[in-house]
Structure formats: structure tokens, C-alpha cells
């Protein structure tokens, strides 16, 4: 067992974790962050995508122990109160959700994309979400939702929130 520290969605955690436990299983089983899903456990499908120190990763391929000290963003940290983020609202408007099992990973991937590219073209959106499988939608309405989210200022919203978050952390 190893003692690990994390900041997850702005909250701090200190836990004991087995050295071989994946970050995905740590989040889901030890902390109850079940919004992040497991689709294959082999880094192929992207359902378990979270943001680790500002980068989207497959959490099934990262050990909790090796991520010690990191800042993590999961789907549970996206909406605040009853207000969905622009990405979530655009997914809702565009029927970009069917069974919902890939949705959390897809939303986190898109958030990561917007941090790197505030106004992606359609090919850039496709490139950006290529690592996330969706068996239901055929991707089209997801692509439309991402383009729609960009138009509604999703990237700007993320920047503004990031600025706020940074301040909070430095104050702490």
C-alpha cells in the first residue's frame, strides 16, 4: 500500500492505495466517482477518459500510485449546481447522448480539446474524439454538439473557470 494525495474536482484527498490499482478503479471503487466508466480496461475505447494534470488520459492505463500528487478532473466536477457547462448543454441540445456510457469520457475529451483548440474545425473535432468509442450515435450528433459548443463559447467558459480555479488553489 502507498499513501497518495490528489486534488479531484477541486477537493483534496489522502488515501492508502494498493500499488497495482489503476486510477480508474481507485476513482470508482475507493472514492465513488462512478461517472467515469470502464469499457474495455485496455486503453482502447476511451470510456474512462479523465483529465490528469491538464491532459486527457485513459484512467485504466494509469496506476493511482504513479499519479500521486496530481490534479484530476472528472465528469462529476463539470456541472455546477443546476448549471450544465456549455459542452454539456450542447450535447443535450444536439441529442449527442444515447445510452450514456461513453458520454463522460467523451465530454472530458472534448474539454481537453477546447483547452488546446478553442474553435476546432470539423476535421479537428473528428481527430480530437477519435480515441473515444461510441456504439450508439454514429458520432455525427456528437461532432455537431462540439461545433455548437464552440460557437456558444465553451472554450472561453473553460478558460474563465481555469482562471478561477488557479486562483483558488494559489490562495489555498
Amino acid at each position: 500500500m502507498k499513501t497518495v494525495h490528489f486534488t479531484i474536482n477541486g477537493e483534496t484527498y489522502r488515501r492508502e492505495v494498493a500499488e497495482h490499482k489503476t486510477l480508474l478503479h481507485f476513482l470508482r471503487e475507493d472514492l465513488g466517482y462512478t461517472g467515469t466508466k470502464e469499457g474495455c480496461g485496455a486503453g482502447e475505447c476511451g470510456a474512462c477518459t479523465i483529465i490528469l494534470n491538464g491532459k486527457a488520459v485513459n484512467s485504466c492505463l494509469v496506476l493511482a500510485a504513479e499519479a500521486d500528487g496530481s490534479v484530476i478532473e472528472t465528469i462529476e466536477g463539470e456541472a455546477s449546481g443546476n448549471t450544465l457547462t456549455e459542452i454539456q448543454q450542447a450535447f443535450d441540445r444536439n441529442h449527442a447522448v444515447q445510452c450514456g456510457f461513453c458520454t463522460a469520457g467523451m465530454v472530458m475529451t472534448v474539454k481537453d480539446l477546447f483547452r488546446r483548440n478553442a474553435h476546432p474545425t470539423r476535421p479537428e473535432v473528428i481527430e480530437g474524439i477519435e480515441g473515444n468509442f461510441c456504439r450508439c450515435t454514429g458520432y455525427e450528433q456528437i461532432i455537431e454538439a462540439v461545433l455548437d459548443a464552440a460557437e456558444h463559447g465553451a472554450a472561453e467558459e473553460i478558460s474563465a473557470r481555469d482562471a478561477g480555479t488557479t486562483k483558488e488553489v494559489s490562495d489555498a
Binding site: I75, A79, N94, H95, Q98, V125, G131
Partner: protein
């Protein structure tokens, strides 16, 4: 029902509206069974067979049983029950003999998943390997080993199926219409071809998962990622000879199904583990690899079609023979065979026809329902065949199709009469053709293709399907008004992404004349609390549950009118209602609000009348019959949904590489209830169809080992694989008994996509492909007139020995 309501009078139905389940899914709050943990819960793992066919000589579980934290170990020898919906042929764990690679032979429940995994590794199974039978055509030979020597003793649904004990034939579906000999004699041309496709995997993003607690006094509580809570409960009760009331099935959010979670699955195994573990709850989550071989797949099909055509291009006669490879268990495949049998001719009029469809046991992972229920598989052959026939007789393939479509007055293969209300296949084909500019290649398309050294091909294909279900299939919806005049609907049709709950909410809102935000359709289903529904399969949910929802709303309204009539001192015939309340039609200021009526009306002095408002809607399919087992005659179809796809491809004639430039999909939906959900089903199914058309499929070695049970080796489409342009259109020929005229379309979008691709590739390059999927190398082989043999049982993991003999010296033993 209500098919005459003009669109302009509708406020919810037919309008864009958000999904009722999107917020909880977008925020991670929706809880799936895979997310659930119960107090005292144990974790299960399954020991699976490494052989396709072997005798189990012995199983030594002693080491596993001695491990700390192991609470139960079971093997097939401990279990005397068989499972099945249509044919009761499947052991819960293999007994005496394993019949396919990946079949469960033992299972463990332990305190943690890690201990369970170590325990199954500690179980030693001694096998005596036997020669497997892998190809359905080998399986029907006289000297083939029998996969089920005891077939004669199995119970099955006698009204629908015909097993042949002493053979590997689990079912023979027969259909005879007119006089085919006469039809062929009167034909100018006869074209005969064979088409094949391999098994594929559904790939729901959430693998199969169940938690079961077998409590004291045989009270069994099941939480499952199942499509069909009530059929699961029924099959469980029958298998274990328990009263239905003892069994409670709860289904929360489900991460995709596509047919693979219909019927019953891993729940009985998990239940037995719970029983062996003294009633503690046990959870089994299938790994992705187990999803491919422990759990069922889609059947492989070999389809032979012989068609006679008159001088003027009309189909005179057609002989259709289907060899359905059910794999080791045929429970569901027999019904895929039956449903495909009566649909086998497609949306075309065939005066003289025979169908012989066989369900054949082999030693491979078993087949089950998959979106389209056989139609994706046989329409690959049928719609390729229509093009090859047209080519043989020198007619344009679209013209040939339009000449032969089912039109009002025509009869289907089973003798049903087509009317002007049945749906319009001709309109679907014509619209799809228009959407892809069929018959011409635009300058822009030419330029795009020439720049890449590619050639343009276009195709238009048709499709149809009716729900495959018992003729008396039924459902119920219960509607309850809350204190604030919002309403909550309960049903056990499961919405695992299709959007049916949103459509049901729209219909209820429409009937109650309330805005959508006053209607909740409760997501989690519970057989102890929610009313009956047969199964969530077959694209029947919208029609049957939609009708039940309308009837439930009408029932609630009728009850409310009786209460309101007393309050308003009026006759119910003079009442009308809106979102706020019930009023006298000719004195609308005399009104009693829904809120006043919701839980019973109270007079100022405290007297009460009525009571909580509840509506019950029950609906059963009307006028359907079993089919005659010799001729196939009868009425199997709740509704026929017709559709068409148009496709444009650009193909490199040197390499066989291709791009799909555009797909246009058209369905006669009767009435589009929710335009965005309609489009989502149309595109999602089309891409799933394109996945199976381009790349997906099970590859076995000669011993029946599955070689590609993972996303590494069995690709599914990603965002990069979708066509450059996608267009969807709904034709609306109202269904007389459809809710607001609607029909289901969720399976149909997947049907005929592969054939559209094959036809377009042939039109571009002349490559004559008859096996799917169409990988670039398959197109290249067809272009170079190299034998396209069965690719799907191979000597090497490279997958190309048999199809590419010139490579054998490098890759094969």
C-alpha cells in the same frame, strides 16, 4: 391510433425536444449496474474453455476452495437446469462437454475480484479434446459430429419451430408460396448466387453485468444490465421452478444493448453463486474479452438465392436457402431464422417463392438477437443479388427494384395484403436516389475522385423489417398524477439509448395537452413495481408502448372527467381540458384545475371525492397469427417499416481502398415523433451497419479458437470512419394502428448498408464482392478476380491464408 391528427395540431409529437435522460447521463449521475455496490457483495469470475469442443474429464476445484476469501465455487456438475426462450438447450455452465471456445466451465464468488481471479486460475480442468464442427455446411453432412446428441429431449416452442433430432439442425423454417417450378419455367433469365457474412459482436459500451442475491425463502433479487426485465424474470422462474412473485428484477440505466442483452444471460449463473455463498449478493461483470465469447454474438449466414425473371424485368420465382450458423446454442438463433425466413424476399413482390432456412449447431460462440434480427445479414445477400440480377438482365438496378417493389394490392411471402397504409417502399427508394443524385456523377464528385486516382460509384438499396415477436405480444403503461399536476409514467420497456422514453413522454404530453416538462418517465424498471412488458426488442417499443401510453393518458383523463363532472355539475360529454384543468366546453370559466383533482378533489368543508388520478393503458398486438409450419402462411407483422439507403463511394481501382463520400437514409416512419431522436437512430444504426460492412467480424483458427476477441483485433468504427456526408429523411405514411401513425425504425437503419457499399463499389470498379465485410484487400481480390473464399476460419492469426493462397508459403503451417 390517431393517425388522422394533422401535424399542425400537435404541440409535442413531431417537435424537437431534448431527451428525458440526457442530464443524468451528461453529469455522471445516471447509475448503471456496473456502478453498483451492495453491502456484503461478493465478486465473481468465470473459468472458460480454451477448446471449441472437448470432453470434460475432471475438474479439480480443491485449491480454489481452500483460498482465503473464496465464498463459493461451482461447476456444471453441480447444476441441473437448462435455459432457453424458444429452445431450452443451454447449460448454465458446461456439463460433461464444452461446446464452444470461451464457454463457462466453473465459477467463483470471492470477497474481491482479485481473489476470484486467482481462484479460477487455481481450478484445474482436464479435457479430452474432440474434433469441432465449425462450418454450418460441414455440420449438415451425414457424418458430422453432433453438437447436441440429446436434441430430441429438449423442450421448445412447438407452434413456431421444427428441430431435426439426430442432426445439427436446430430448426427448419419453411415457406411455400405459389408454384416456383412454373415461375422458373416462365422466366427469361435465372440468376443464382451465394452470399456470406461472418459472426460479429454487438459491442455495447457497458459489458453484461448482473448482481443477484438469492435470499432466504427463495426470494431472488436481480439487478441486471438487461433489455427485458419481465422475460428475464419469466425465464428465470421457469428454469428454477420458482413462483414469479419470488423474483424481483431491477434494471437501472443500461449502457447499450443492440439485442445482445435480450432474453436471459449471466443472471442464473450469478444467482447460483449467491445461493452457494449463503445468500450474499454476487456481482459478475463480463470483461470485454468475455463479451466476445462467453456471451453471445450475431450468427454467421450463408444465403443462396435463385431468381427467375421475366422478359420485362419482373421477378417470377425465387428459391431462397439460408444456412444460419447458431453456434453451440440455438435458443435465439431459431427465431432469427424464423423472422428472416418470412422476410427473406425483401420489399419486393415475388409471386412464386420457397424459403428453406436452417438453424445449424456448430462448435462456436452462440448467436443471439442483434439489431435487425437477421435482416442485416440476409439483406447483404438479397440487395447484392438484386444488383447482380439487374446486371445480368441488362437493366438499371434502381429501375429493376422499382418495377418489383411491394405496392398496394400485392401480397407478402406469407400472404399478407399490402395496402396504402402499409408504408411506401417505392417512395423511400426514389427519395434516397434523389438525395445521392443517382444516375449521374457530378463534376465536383468527378474532380474529388480524380484527384485521388479514385472512381465514383453510386447505389440505392431497399430494406424492410417487421417486429419478430409472438403474435400476442403485450405491454402496459401506468400513469400517475402528482400533487402539483405533473405526471409520472411507469413502464418496463427499457430505454438503453433508443430514445423511446422521450417519445413516450411526448405522446403523454400531447394527450394531456401539457408541456413536456410536466411529464416524467421513470427510468429504473422494477418488476415488483412496474407493469408488464414482454421484451425490449424488435423495434416494437414505440408502437406498442406508445399505444399503451396514449391509452393510459386517455384513462387518466376519463377518470378525471368523472370527478370534474361532479365538481362542475356537468355531463362528461360537455367537458374539455387543457394544461391547467378541466372545463365546461361552452363555459370555459367553469373550470376545475388538475392540481385540485390530482390526489382527489376536496370541497371547502373538507368533503372529498374521486381520489389520486391514475391511468392504465394496456395494449396487445392485434390480428397477428402463428405461421403455418409447412407453407409459412399467416400474419406475422405488427407493422412493416420500409426504408432505403443511397450511397456514394470513391474507390481506388488499383488498391481496393475506398472512401464513403455520402450516405442518405430514408425510412417510412409513419410519423416522426422526435426529429432528433429519429436522426440519431438512423445515423447510429447506419454507422453500426457500416462497421460490420467494412471491418468487423469473428476470425477463428482451424480448431475453433476465436482469434480476435478485443478492440485491438476487432475494430469498430471511430469518428474518423464516418462518411463525409450523412443525410436522413422520414417518409410519413401513417400506420393505422401506430401511435400518432408512427412505426419503429431503430433496427432498420442498420439493414442493407453493407449491400449499398458492395453495390457502389461494384458500380465504381466492377469488383464483384459476395462476402462481407469489405476490407480493402477483399475489394482488391475481387478486382483481380482472385477466389474470395471463406475468410473467417483461418490457419493463422493473419486472417488471410485461405483467402490469399499466394501468401500461404509465408504465413501458414
Amino acid at each position: 391510433m390517431l393517425e388522422t391528427v394533422p401535424a399542425s395540431n400537435l404541440t409535442s409529437v413531431g417537435h424537437k425536444t431534448r431527451r428525458v435522460d440526457s442530464i443524468e447521463k451528461l453529469t455522471g449521475e445516471a447509475t448503471y449496474v456496473s456502478d453498483m455496490v451492495l453491502p456484503g457483495m461478493l465478486y465473481a469470475r468465470v473459468k472458460t474453455s480454451p477448446h471449441a469442443r472437448a470432453r470434460i474429464v475432471s475438474i479439480d476445484t480443491s485449491k480454489a476452495e481452500a483460498m482465503v476469501g473464496v465464498r463459493a465455487v461451482i461447476t456444471g456438475h453441480d447444476i441441473g437446469y437448462k435455459l432457453g426462450l424458444y429452445v431450452v438447450d443451454k447449460d448454465i455452465l458446461a456439463r460433461n462437454e464444452v461446446r464452444h471456445f470461451g464457454e463457462g466451465v466453473a465459477a467463483v464468488a470471492a470477497d474481491t475480484l482479485e481473489i476470484a481471479q486467482k481462484a479460477i486460475e487455481a481450478i484445474h480442468v482436464e479435457y479430452e479434446e474432440l474434433e469441432p464442427v465449425l462450418h454450418p455446411k460441414d455440420a449438415v453432412k451425414d457424418d458430422a459430429p453432433l453438437v447436441h446428441p440429446d436434441l430430441e429431449s429438449y423442450s421448445y416452442m412447438e407452434a413456431a419451430f421444427t428441430p431435426r433430432p439426430g442432426t445439427n439442425i436446430a430448426n427448419h423454417t419453411k415457406l411455400r408460396k405459389g408454384d416456383v417450378e412454373k415461375g422458373f419455367a416462365e422466366s427469361e433469365w435465372i440468376v443464382e448466387r451465394e452470399y456470406t457474412n461472418p459472426s460479429v459482436q454487438h459491442v455495447p459500451m457497458e459489458t453484461h453485468v448482473a448482481i443477484v442475491q438469492w435470499g432466504k425463502n427463495d426470494q431472488v433479487h436481480i439487478w441486471s444490465s438487461a433489455q427485458s426485465p419481465y422475460t428475464l424474470r419469466n425465464l428465470f422462474a421457469v428454469a428454477f421452478e420458482l413462483p414469479h412473485r419470488n423474483i424481483r428484477v431491477e434494471v437501472p440505466y443500461v449502457g447499450g444493448g443492440f439485442g445482445g442483452k435480450a432474453g436471459i444471460g449471466i443472471e442464473p449463473l450469478v444467482a447460483l453463486l449467491s445461493q452457494a455463498a449463503k445468500g450474499r449478493p454476487v456481482k459478475l461483470t463480463a470483461t470485454r474479452e468475455e463479451e466476445f465469447s462467453l456471451l453471445p454474438c450475431r450468427s454467421q449466414l450463408t444465403y443462396q438465392i435463385r431468381t427467375g425473371i421475366s422478359k420485362d424485368g419482373k421477378i417470377q420465382a425465387q428459391e431462397m436457402t439460408m444456412y444460419w450458423d447458431s453456434g453451440a446454442y440455438a435458443d435465439y438463433a431459431v427465431n432469427v431464422t424464423r423472422a428472416s425466413g418470412y422476410s427473406a424476399g425483401g420489399p419486393y413482390e415475388i409471386p412464386n417463392a420457397t424459403v428453406d432456412a436452417y438453424t445449424i449447431y456448430t462448435n462456436k460462440p452462440f448467436g443471439t438477437a442483434y439489431r435487425g434480427f437477421g435482416h442485416v445479414e440476409f439483406f447483404w445477400g438479397l440487395e447484392r443479388h438484386m444488383d447482380l440480377v439487374a446486371q445480368a438482365i441488362g437493366m438499371d438496378p434502381l429501375e429493376f427494384r422499382l418495377k418489383n417493389t411491394l405496392k398496394p394490392g400485392a401480397t407478402t411471402l406469407t400472404g399478407e395484403k399490402i395496402t396504402e397504409h402499409t408504408g411506401n417502399i417505392t417512395a423511400c427508394l426514389e427519395k434516397a436516389a434523389e438525395m445521392v443524385d443517382y444516375g449521374s456523377v457530378t463534376e465536383a464528385e468527378k474532380a474529388k475522385a480524380a484527384a485521388q486516382g479514385k472512381k465514383i460509384g453510386k447505389a440505392v438499396v431497399g430494406l424492410h423489417k417487421a417486429p419478430a415477436m409472438p403474435p400476442f405480444t403485450a405491454t402496459t403503461v401506468i400513469l400517475k398524477m402528482n400533487e402539483d399536476a405533473t405526471v409520472t409514467a411507469n413502464l418496463t420497456l427499457t430505454d438503453y439509448g433508443q430514445g423511446t422514453y422521450t417519445a413516450v413522454a411526448q405522446m403523454i404530453a400531447e394527450r394531456l395537452r401539457m408541456p413536456m416538462d410536466r411529464v416524467k418517465v421513470a427510468f429504473e424498471s422494477d418488476t415488483d413495481r412496474d407493469p408488464y412488458d414482454w421484451q425490449t426488442v424488435a423495434s416494437k417499443g414505440l408502437l406498442l408502448s406508445g399505444n399503451a401510453a396514449i391509452l393510459a393518458a386517455d384513462d387518466l383523463i376519463a377518470t378525471a372527467y368523472e370527478d370534474a363532472a361532479q365538481v362542475l355539475r356537468a355531463h362528461t360529454r360537455d367537458l374539455d381540458h387543457d394544461a391547467d384543468g378541466i372545463f365546461l366546453r361552452h363555459h370555459p370559466e367553469h373550470v376545475v384545475s388538475w392540481k385540485q383533482l390530482a390526489i382527489g378533489y376536496a370541497y371547502p368543508n373538507g368533503n372529498g371525492i374521486g381520489g389520486p388520478l391514475v391511468g392504465v393503458g394496456r395494449y396487445i398486438a392485434q390480428g397477428l397469427t402463428h405461421l403455418n409450419k409447412e407453407t409459412g402462411e399467416g400474419s406475422p407483422a405488427l407493422d412493416w417499416t420500409y426504408g432505403a439507403h443511397g450511397m456514394i463511394v470513391a474507390v481506388d481501382p488499383d488498391t481496393g481502398e475506398y472512401d464513403v463520400l455520402k450516405v442518405a437514409s430514408v425510412f417510412d416512419a409513419g410519423r416522426v415523433i422526435n426529429p432528433d431522436a429519429f436522426r440519431g437512430q438512423a445515423i447510429g444504426g447506419m454507422i453500426q451497419g457500416l462497421g460490420t460492412a467494412t471491418v468487423e467480424g469473428y476470425i477463428y483458427d482451424k480448431k475453433g479458437h476465436l482469434l480476435n476477441p478485443s478492440f485491438t483485433d476487432n475494430k469498430i468504427p471511430t469518428a474518423k470512419d464516418i462518411p463525409m456526408e450523412i443525410e436522413v429523411f422520414g417518409v410519413e405514411t401513417p400506420q393505422v394502428d401506430g401511435p400518432f401513425g408512427a412505426r419503429g425504425i431503430a433496427e432498420h437503419s442498420m439493414i442493407s448498408v453493407a449491400a449499398a457499399l458492395g453495390n457502389a463499389i461494384q458500380h465504381a470498379t466492377g469488383a464483384e464482392v459476395t462476402h462481407m465485410p469489405l476490407r480493402s484487400e477483399d475489394v482488391w481480390r475481387a478486382l483481380n478476380r482472385k477466389d474470395a473464399v471463406d475468410n473467417w476460419i483461418t490457419k493463422s492469426p493473419l486472417g488471410s491464408c485461405k483467402s490469399a493462397p499466394e501468401l500461404q508459403k509465408y504465413t501458414c503451417d
